[in-house]
Symmetry: C2
Subunit: 225 residues, 2 copies
């Protein structure tokens, strides 16, 4: 399977040319993000939780406090909606109407599954840590029994969803190109600054190679979009 099947709620109605069901696009946008937005219905109301996540193949993992009743309720077959959005640029057109942003976004739908099997629980948590910082997991203390009990890992299969991407300059009405105002794009990227040592860091501990060579920083700080 190289692409997802459109469903009634993922069939793009507007901006079809910006949409994609290709798994390569969906995975790429997910892998580039830092935090996702997890929306769900609780007590009849929509809710959003911004949270860290990680991907293993066609599964997205998030975690939360085991005491979080809303998250727990979400695992009873309710549909969740998980979204990742990158803003890549401000698109300044010659008319107010055609102002836009360049972006890449993914929206996924599906029931969340509470991960109870220990190996998958650890793989899910590892994916979340490694998504934030590849190479980190093997360097830090693994969860102990008490921490495991306090942490719920949830899985969402990448079965239903779509990506949407806008790139390029503004698209103005033909007659507006004659207007005298400036138009163009202001590219935006996530910048990763110099790591700040923990104030309680013991003397002689250097910033590890995987931090100084953080692939996300290299890619994003170097790329002009």
């Amino acid at each position: 399977m190289s692409q997802l099947e459109p469903t009634p709620r993922t069939t793009l109605k507007r901006g079809k040319d910006r949409g994609s069901y290709e798994l390569a696009d969906i995975h790429g946008i997910l892998d580039d993000g830092l935090a996702c937005q997890l929306a769900f219905i609780h007590n009849g109301s929509p809710h959003i939780i911004p949270t860290a996540y990680g991907r293993v193949g066609s599964t997205v993992y998030v975690h939360g406090a085991a005491a979080n009743r809303a998250l727990r309720a979400l695992c009873n077959g309710e549909t969740a909606c998980l979204s990742v959005t990158h803003i890549d640029g401000l698109v300044l057109a010659r008319s107010a109407f055609h102002h836009s942003m360049n972006y890449r976004s993914v929206v996924l739908y599906g029931p969340m599954r509470e991960v109870t099997e220990h190996c998958e629980w650890q793989a899910g948590l590892r994916a979340i840590i490694e998504h934030m910082m590849p190479g980190r997991w093997d360097d830090v203390r693994s969860p102990n029994e008490q921490e495991s009990k306090r942490t719920m890992v949830l899985a969402l299969e990448i079965d239903e969803g779509s990506a949407k991407v806008r790139t390029g300059p503004p698209v103005d009405d033909e007659e507006d190109y004659a207007l005298g105002c400036w138009a163009g794009v202001i590219p935006t990227t996530t910048h990763f600054a110099t790591p700040i040592d923990d104030p309680r860091l013991a003397a002689g501990i250097e910033v590890p190679h995987y931090v100084t060579h953080y692939p996300r920083a290299k890619r994003q700080n170097g790329a002009a979009r």
Copy 2:
């Protein structure tokens, strides 16, 4: 009124010390964002739309295609949940469990109102454009009648919601400070690159002062968080 009243769905259960109902905090986080995430229930399922927004006093405005049935349905008294999240840093602790992110987030709840009165419609749209780029509105062609008909502006009053903020270094278990691994924070900011002229820009049109002196870029590129 300087702060919002907590409600059952905005009363923070975990991380209370990171929460705030102060309007100054909520407005500040909203004003710093580029896009928000708008969640709502449509056909029994949660949905998220990433979208531009603007604030006028205690009202947040978003816009969308008038033909968007989900947005239109949202104005029939349904509750929406609007969220803005800034990721300010990756927090690398000595244990997997204490990894975190520094962030500022706002979640608002309430019914959305379709703005039908012309002056408010224009003020809402202006707020969205000016939020993206202060000074832009007066420089571009205003919406014509056809564009007005095609564009729906929605308002959400800042009546119910909360902010949540994490700052500072990792917080490790006392015994973990003896571990030999590096710990600290990698600050993340939104970087605004040099504006790219529209390929069809007429000769002699310079990048305007409000773009070269973009306050968000000055603030974020200069600040070490």
